[in-house]
């Protein structure tokens, strides 16, 4: 067993960390408070090469391994969850399905632009009536004279309505006839470009977390798109969704790990400075033990997540480890941030202290891309229950 990161992976971590501290730290609090999505930071992440990290050079990507990408998400999340959300969603939900399932001409058409940071693409699965139960999708698509006609709506779609959002991969119901061959619903995934007539993208306001990330409602009213905009085959929608979510889970896990690491560092620094009863508070055993537990959880989360990435990079089955990583990293993020706030006392509740933002931001991680309950369901199935 070799637990050492490669020289390249270490350099990627160092670069993304330097970038996050130089470019994101100074603006994160204000963007969160005013709930502003930053085109500028998105472009800068693109310039650094954080979009398309896992896809080949020929499509504008960097051709790096999964672990390198996960380290990048972790390092951005260590500073700011909102920017990490933009990054993770665009890579694993926007770019990845087009790369994995697109035709050569779809890849050449969309991917180079999406790798620059000038344009974003989203993944539309969730609907008002279809959350954990994605098979409840009601958005429909039917073929008419060489065109798909899409009707319905999606909700909570990351990167769906920013001014640089160029389109969405929409999960649709193409055949709800239970008399068909296998008696199952048939889902089909379609690429829908912004600007298509009848496609409305509305930014959702009032989020508790990821306030500087774009979350949207999408409405489709007789949207007509060319037949060739289908991603994969008719009826392949479920497969595309499941495969996208498997790898997407690694990104959310990386956000949990980065969030925990960032909160731990804030807590450690504060506890070593804050004095009460004539001593720094980290010297009180109860606090020292809290910090020890936090460090241990981060270490365990790292090992689990990096192993899942290693499995994927070595083309071995990784769905179980991905679900476990998503579940574990997001749950320890919650525990670590909670203790980090506790160590800050009253100051941890004030917006002047970054840990307050971490406390809010971690809360989505146990909900987005499959709730903790659903992860347990997935894991229990995979272990044969």
């Amino acid at each position: 067993m070799n637990f050492n990161l490669s020289e390249e992976q270490n350099l990627i971590r160092e670069s993304v960390r330097d970038f996050a501290e130089r470019e994101i730290t100074p603006v994160a609090r204000e963007l969160d408070e005013k709930a502003i999505f930053s085109n500028d930071l998105t472009k800068k992440m693109g310039d650094l090469g954080l979009f398309g990290m896992n896809i080949p050079d020929k499509y504008g990507g960097q051709g790096l391994d999964t672990l390198s990408y996960i380290i990048a998400v972790e390092e951005i999340a260590r500073i700011d969850a909102s920017q990490a959300a933009t990054l993770a969603a665009h890579n694993s939900l926007g770019i990845s399905p087009i790369y994995e399932f697109g035709t050569e001409s779809q890849k050449m058409k969309y991917l180079p632009g999406l790798c620059t940071g000038d344009a974003l693409w989203s993944f539309g699965l969730t609907e008002p009536g279809a959350g954990s139960d994605s098979r409840g999708t009601k958005t429909t698509a039917r073929l008419d004279g060489g065109e798909w006609i899409i009707n319905g709506s999606k909700t909570f779609i990351t990167n769906g309505s920013a001014s640089i959002s160029k389109g969405c991969t929409v999960q649709t119901l193409t055949d709800n006839d239970t008399d068909n061959d296998n008696g199952k619903k048939s889902f089909t995934t379609i690429l829908l470009e912004s600007g298509t007539k009848g496609f409305k993208q509305v930014c959702m306001h009032g989020k508790m977390m990821w306030r500087a990330s774009d979350t949207s409602e999408l409405f489709f009213d007789d949207c007509r798109v060319p037949e060739e905009n289908i991603l994969g085959q008719v009826g392949q929608g479920s497969k595309i969704m499941l495969s996208t979510l498997d790898s997407g889970r690694l990104s959310i896990a990386a956000m949990g790990l980065g969030c925990a690491r960032g909160a731990f560092e804030l807590a450690m620094n504060y506890a070593q400075e804050r004095k009460q009863f004539g001593r720094v508070i980290s010297k009180f055993q109860i606090n020292a033990f809290k910090l020890a537990d936090m460090a241990m959880k981060i270490e365990l989360a790292t090992n689990l997540l990096y192993k899942a990435c290693w499995l994927k990079d070595n083309e071995q089955a990784y769905a179980k480890e991905a679900a476990m990583s998503k579940l574990y990293c997001s749950e320890i993020a919650k525990e670590v941030v909670d203790e980090a706030v506790q160590l800050h006392g009253g100051y941890g509740l004030m917006k002047d202290y970054n840990v307050e933002r971490f406390y809010r931001d971690q809360r989505i991680l146990q909900i987005g891309e499959g709730t903790s309950e659903i992860q347990r369901l997935v894991i229990s199935r995979l272990i044969g229950c």
Partner: protein, 249 residues
């Protein structure tokens, strides 16, 4: 024109310094290594000069004196944009030794411009640049904070007491650079990191040379005595402590 930038591999500036072997050696356990900040700025300026097509710079090489442990630092220099790297495979013993090793490598190549940081953030010797120019028998300009091309001449600016001095001279020479030479160091992009993998990093044998100094002992600064707080109304106690304990009055 080819530029050579001398690059030192130094402990990260936030490193907690410890000594080993009876305080005669710096304990490198757990130390994170980085490019010496002055050298990083020198490299940044060299690359800016190369990227501006109106300048005659076509190639930037980085060189270091160090063991294999210095390679991540060299790889980072390549990822930032240097074209190739040279590592002289030995421990950087003292300033004269390092300058001699660099000179031996530089002599055999046609670098018209050699850039060095004014000092390194670990030993703060501030001696390599000057010594290197002596070994190379080239002119040198120290504390350079600006560098531009004007025809065949290079204009250097230096901060002097109360102002800025501008000098112009033809290559070749050694420029010993101070902070200000470039705005901020570059962060290597993913593409640069990928490309660095394929760039040449040549390892050169050490040249025969004496080390002229010998480290006898390192000493930590004494810890500051604890701060005593005195209530605002107890002026007499304060005066007493200043007179009799601190003995400063």
């Amino acid at each position: 024109m080819k530029i050579l930038v001398c690059v030192g591999n130094v402990p990260d500036t936030t490193t907690k310094v410890r000594f080993a072997e009876k305080n005669t050696k710096f304990d490198t356990n757990g130390v994170q290594w980085v490019i010496n900040p002055w050298d990083e700025l020198a490299l940044t300026r060299a690359l800016e000069l190369k990227e501006d097509s109106s300048n005659p710079v076509v190639h930037v090489t980085v060189a270091t004196v160090g063991r294999a442990g210095a390679e991540p630092t060299m790889r980072k220099a390549l990822a930032i944009g240097a074209d190739d790297a040279i590592r002289i495979d030995t421990d950087p013993e003292d300033s004269s030794f390092v300058a001699y090793q660099l000179a031996e490598v530089i002599k055999n190549e046609d670098y018209q411009l050699v850039l060095c940081g004014i000092e390194s953030s670990d030993y703060n010797g501030a001696a390599v640049g000057g010594m290197l120019s002596e070994y190379l028998d080239l002119p040198s300009v120290s504390a350079v904070t600006g560098m531009t091309f004007e025809g065949a001449d290079i204009i250097l600016s230096r901060e002097i007491d109360g102002g800025i001095e501008e000098v112009s001279l033809p290559a070749p020479f050694v420029a010993v650079v101070q902070k200000g030479i470039a705005k901020e160091p570059r962060i290597p992009a993913m593409r640069g990191i990928m490309m660095a993998r394929k760039k040449p990093l040549k390892v050169v044998e050490v040249a025969e040379a004496e080390t002229l100094t010998n480290m006898t002992e390192f000493e930590m600064p004494k810890p500051k005595p604890p701060c005593k707080m005195i209530e605002a109304e107890n002026v007499a106690e304060l005066v007493d402590l200043l007179q009799n304990e601190a003995k400063v009055l």
